[in-house]
Homo-oligomer: 341 residues x 2
């Protein structure tokens, strides 16, 4: 198998801001695309490293350089190859995920089967995906919510001093839409219940990652008070985190770039189900390659937050849909995406 990769700069519709990136980021982003060629077919993957998990494009490229020598000749040897990469690079799951996705796409193409078929999963109905409204000045937020009219489920980052302004702005334009909030570890045990109460006043469906990983003491009281599901994100990276989350959260947000790819995500889903945890599939700002990889498992999820590709003005791939929160699994083999003409 011949593994290659390249960076590509994509334009974003809006600057992207979360509790982790308090300043405006220019509306463009470099993505890291991976390809594996074998037997006349090419599998596409994407690595979406995130700096606050100690990963970067450069660190991911180092892993890919090593992976090119490690992946061997058998695209079907996923367990061995991915286990080997995760063992050698435990802190670089995003890069490993890039390899995992490309190998899966390749396997699907060699078998001439979409991955969801290969996995024996249902094509649908899939849950609707949320669409993220980036934090901004209230008048900009109102404009963004208007632009997002087609999306029945919105998600917004909270955990900054302007939460009330943000949520008021959303509710002014969309008083009845399903609304999810993601605190991105932005609250602390000390202010948690107050913050939670003020957010719940805006009728939210769920709360993601209220406090920093490890700052769990107030979570039981929160779950008692909130009456909406509390979903782990930063507290749940990989398979080994699932069981501990079962006592603290109602569900987990599984992202391929946190856990190491499709294969690990399937293990996490199975583990989470057996623990009674709800499952959200989430993403970074990713092209249709990364989104399609998660979407193959979407029939197993309770919540989808797979809108990363929709934030791009010039996604280099297409084939997964997403308008109005509706993701569509295609009949094309592998991930079912193709480079945009």
């Amino acid at each position: 198998m011949k593994l290659k990769w390249h960076r590509r700069t994509v334009r974003l519709h809006h600057p992207f801001q979360t509790a982790h990136s308090p300043r405006d980021v220019p509306p463009a982003k470099e993505v890291l695309l991976v390809s594996i060629e074998h037997g006349g077919a090419v599998g596409w993957g994407e690595a979406a490293p995130v700096s606050y998990y100690g990963q970067s494009l450069a660190s991911a490229e180092e892993v890919l350089l090593a992976a090119a020598d490690m992946i061997g000749r058998d695209p079907f040897a996923l367990d061995e190859t991915i286990d080997g990469l995760l063992k050698r690079f435990p802190s670089q799951p995003a890069a490993v995920s890039g390899v995992d996705i490309a190998m899966h796409d390749l396997v699907g193409k060699l078998l001439d089967k979409p991955l969801w078929v290969h996995f024996g999963l249902k094509r649908g109905p899939l849950p609707l995906s949320s669409f993220t409204i980036g934090i901004d000045r209230p008048e900009i937020i109102e404009k963004k919510v208007v632009e997002a009219e087609a999306f029945p489920i919105l998600k917004v980052k909270v955990g900054t001093p302007g939460d009330d302004q943000t949520l008021s702005a959303i509710r002014r334009v969309a008083p009845r839409k399903t609304l999810r909030v993601d605190a991105n570890s932005g609250w602390t045990s000390a202010n948690l219940l107050d913050r939670c109460r003020s957010v719940l006043a805006y009728d939210v469906e769920l709360i993601e990652q209220p406090t920093a990983p490890g700052d769990d003491d107030a979570l039981p009281a929160l779950r008692e008070a909130a009456h909406v599901p509390i979903i782990a994100d930063e507290s749940c990276h990989g398979v080994d985190d699932v069981r501990r989350c079962a006592g603290l959260f109602d569900g987990i947000n599984i992202k391929l770039s946190k856990c190491g790819g499709i294969r690990q995500a399937r293990l996490m889903i199975d583990a989470a189900r057996s623990c009674g945890l709800k499952i959200m599939l989430g993403c970074m700002v990713e092209t249709s390659v990364g989104i399609a990889a998660s979407a193959q498992l979407a029939s197993l999820a309770d919540y989808l937050d797979l809108d990363g590709h929709l934030l791009m003005a010039d996604d280099p791939f297409e084939g997964i849909g997403g308008a109005g929160g509706v993701l569509t699994l295609s009949d094309r083999p592998g991930l079912g995406v193709r480079p945009r003409a």
Copy 2:
């Protein structure tokens, strides 16, 4: 897809006796073979219903009759089909497993890939399987152990008054072999520690299902005293039992006929791993069809107890090996087994 089934009587090398079947059973057994034809290929499955789980050949055949109408046209739609069957026939996992195995074999054949390849799993090294020595008079047991000379791991049912005689007989012939004991729920909380102590004197590797399901009160003390893994069998049927077992046992024995097939077994393995439980793959008295189905997952197991086909003098299928406890995954598509010429 066209589903058919037939019973077949196979001869056994020895009468088969456990704590559940205290009297000798004639050395023959009816097996229930399932076939699904689609697109010019035939997938083989096997249902191994067990009476003490409320299943019989007749009840399994009723499920297969309904399944023939329910399985639809798409052999790849495993999640939908198997979930549908398990929902409709929750008390008949052995019959559902027969359908699941046949669909998997069919999928592998349509893709021209062995199932272990299709699953992305390793071919090996696989753990060695144990070989079961049926309970009998001591002189017969000694003879059986001599006959089992090639098998490095023996398993024996305990939980009857003759345990000491049985274990002494085995240790006289095979003083140093790895020995596993299966109490098949035969002990009670009242006599557990005494029985356990006397069994451990024979240097056993693990103890399976010491007490009846639900009679769990003495298990913590047993685990404290035993210093060998305690494996759940009757206490762990399906996915929903895994999490509860994590607090009580060190591992679980996964059998396709208890859980509903390969698909459910994979979910159980993933769940068990995330709970830190060890994994044994076990079987009933089954032909090479049923054994090959479990064996596809063998690289994920800590312990194998896949000797059901070796108890048959005229297994109607071949292709999985088993001599000396060595199971071999073949390069042939699907299960990799074929009717014996």
